[in-house]
């Protein structure tokens, strides 16, 4: 038991640096995922078939390429093609765009979960297409997607560890833990603290999404 806390106190600065890198990576990727995911979801429910198809191509592309391959293409591939992309940009971009595909699918399903009768009722009451979307569909859709968005966010936080082990060599929490492990040989103890670090972030995300759910819940 002594070794467990020793590993943390003796390597706290290094592990904290990795934690901070992971936090920034996750924060930036989350922002990209939300913005891009919303745009793609809008494309997927657009009145124009071409726009819908465009959104579909995005989702299928980013959902069907393994994240590790995406990281490799976006870093080594682009650099070899002459684009001087940094490891940060490649990491945040890949994780953000990859997660955006899932966000888009959740948002789309949320919109479709609102029953057709409500849309028809709104339209027959004289609401325009945009008004129907804004006042009837989206508020209800938002409520449905909070829980699945939370799951996606947690998955993204854990996926961020892949960025660290990839070619990008970003010094994230897992990477710093592995460096500590390779120096101290305290494998179980080091990875225990790495797990705690990830748990802190996922727990914070869970609490935030629970609060959102409560805030927008229907009183039954």
């Amino acid at each position: 038991m002594g070794a467990l806390f020793e590993v943390l106190t003796e390597n706290f600065d290094q592990l904290a640096r990795g934690f901070w890198v992971t936090l920034r990576l996750v924060g930036a990727s989350f922002a990209i995922a939300l913005v891009v995911g919303t745009v793609v979801a809008a494309l997927r429910i657009a009145p124009s078939a071409w726009l819908r198809r465009l959104g579909g191509v995005y989702v299928e592309t980013f959902r069907n390429i393994p994240l590790l391959v995406l990281l490799f293409i976006s870093f080594a591939g682009l650099r070899r093609a002459g684009v001087p992309i940094s490891n940060w940009t490649a990491g945040i971009g890949s994780l953000g765009l990859y997660t955006a595909a899932y966000v888009a699918e959740v948002l789309r399903s949320g919109v479709f979960a609102v029953s057709k009768g409500q849309v028809e009722a709104a339209l027959s009451l004289g609401f325009s297409h945009n008004e129907t979307l804004r006042r009837i569909v989206l508020p209800q859709a938002f409520r449905t997607v909070i829980a699945p968005l939370g799951s996606i966010t947690i998955a993204m936080i854990k996926n961020s560890a892949i960025v660290g082990v990839s070619l990008l060599a970003l010094p994230d929490l897992l990477k710093e833990a592995r460096i500590v492990q390779s120096r101290t040989f305290e494998t179980d103890e080091t990875f225990f603290w790495a797990a705690v670090g990830y748990l802190l972030i996922t727990a914070a995300a869970t609490i935030a999404f629970r609060a959102l759910e409560r805030r927008f819940a229907i009183r039954r």
């Binding site: 870093f75 080594a76 650099r79 490891n87 070619l167 060599a169 010094p171 592995r178 040989f185 494998t187």
Partner: protein, 297 residues
């Protein structure tokens, strides 16, 4: 209804079976029937020793690098494992009268592999250090490498002193992490899992230099001649075979094989085959002892 359920169960069982078979197949980095020539035990060992256990099993699992020419690498043409470390591994297996089974051991996992018994022996360009000696045991040194710096032909870096502010790649868990922090404290270190990743990073310009053992860097130059070595040697890196901590009888056995290999010309042959013909340099088998090596790093 009943038959449908059974059909699904059969399908499920088949899938599990296929997956299991695929998993095992992958793991078995078999070197084929060509190596069964040496399966007549030459010596017998007291029961309970690692040597006796390995002879009983008929195989020895050896962790080597898969991507570090010229020490341990997969020949892309023949798909065979080759290299200096692999040759030594075959020699040790032959002297035991067992078949070698090679598995991939990268810098970061080779010590855990010995501790948990995944590998019986590690031959993966591993420098003997006092720190590692606390976790595992080492054989007598079988090769002496020197730490160097590799850059692109057109680079203005001329040695370790120019690395400040530059991106430098080396492997996580290697001795160079410490060496570079000491010799080039202001360098921006990029720690990756394997040296093939360092090669990719210097080729695509993501790092400006790679630092590790000269022989590993020479392997990179063989693959890409737009790279060059610069500066004076940073360090002396005696390689030793890694053995589970406390297994003294097996450590002595491996050391004896290493020393015999140095004496009987096996070492010189492997050196010429894997290093000499590329560097045009001659070298005698190392005379450094384990005790000297441990004082060094």
């Amino acid at each position: 209804m009943q038959t449908t359920r059974w059909r699904w169960l059969t399908v499920l069982a088949l899938m599990v079976g296929v997956l299991a078979a695929a998993g095992c197949g992958d793991d078995e980095e078999d070197t084929g029937a060509a190596e069964t020539t040496a399966t007549t035990p030459t010596r017998t060992f007291p029961a309970g020793t690692t040597m006796a256990r390995l002879q009983q099993a008929g195989t020895i699992t050896i962790g080597v690098k898969f991507d570090v020419p010229p020490f341990g690498f997969k020949n892309p043409r023949s798909d065979e494992l080759e290299g200096f470390d692999v040759d030594l591994g075959r020699r040790i297996a032959a002297d035991l009268g067992v078949r070698p089974r090679f598995i991939e051991a990268v810098s970061d996992n080779r010590i855990p592999f010995l501790k948990d018994g995944t590998a019986d022996l590690i031959l993966s360009t591993m420098t003997i250090t006092a720190e590692r000696d606390e976790e595992i045991d080492f054989s007598e040194p079988y090769f002496i490498a020197r730490g160097r710096v590799l850059v692109k032909d057109d680079s203005d870096i001329t040695g370790v002193d120019d690395l400040a502010g530059k991106k430098v790649c080396t492997a996580l868990g290697s001795t160079y992490e410490e060496t570079l922090k000491r010799e080039a404290p202001r360098a921006d270190l990029r720690l990756v899992d394997s040296y093939s990743e360092c090669l990719e990073l210097i080729q695509n310009g993501a790092v400006e230099a790679v630092s590790t053992d000269d022989v590993i860097l020479t392997g990179m130059i063989i693959q890409d001649d737009s790279l060059k070595l610069v500066g004076e040697p940073l360090t002396t890196e005696p390689y030793g075979a890694g053995i589970k901590e406390g297994d003294d009888a097996f450590r002595r056995f491996v050391s004896d094989v290493v020393q015999a290999w140095k004496r009987d010309g096996g070492w010189a042959e492997a050196y010429q085959k894997w290093v000499g013909q590329y560097t045009d340099e001659q070298q005698d088998p190392p005379t450094m002892t384990l005790a000297e090596a441990l004082k060094l790093n």
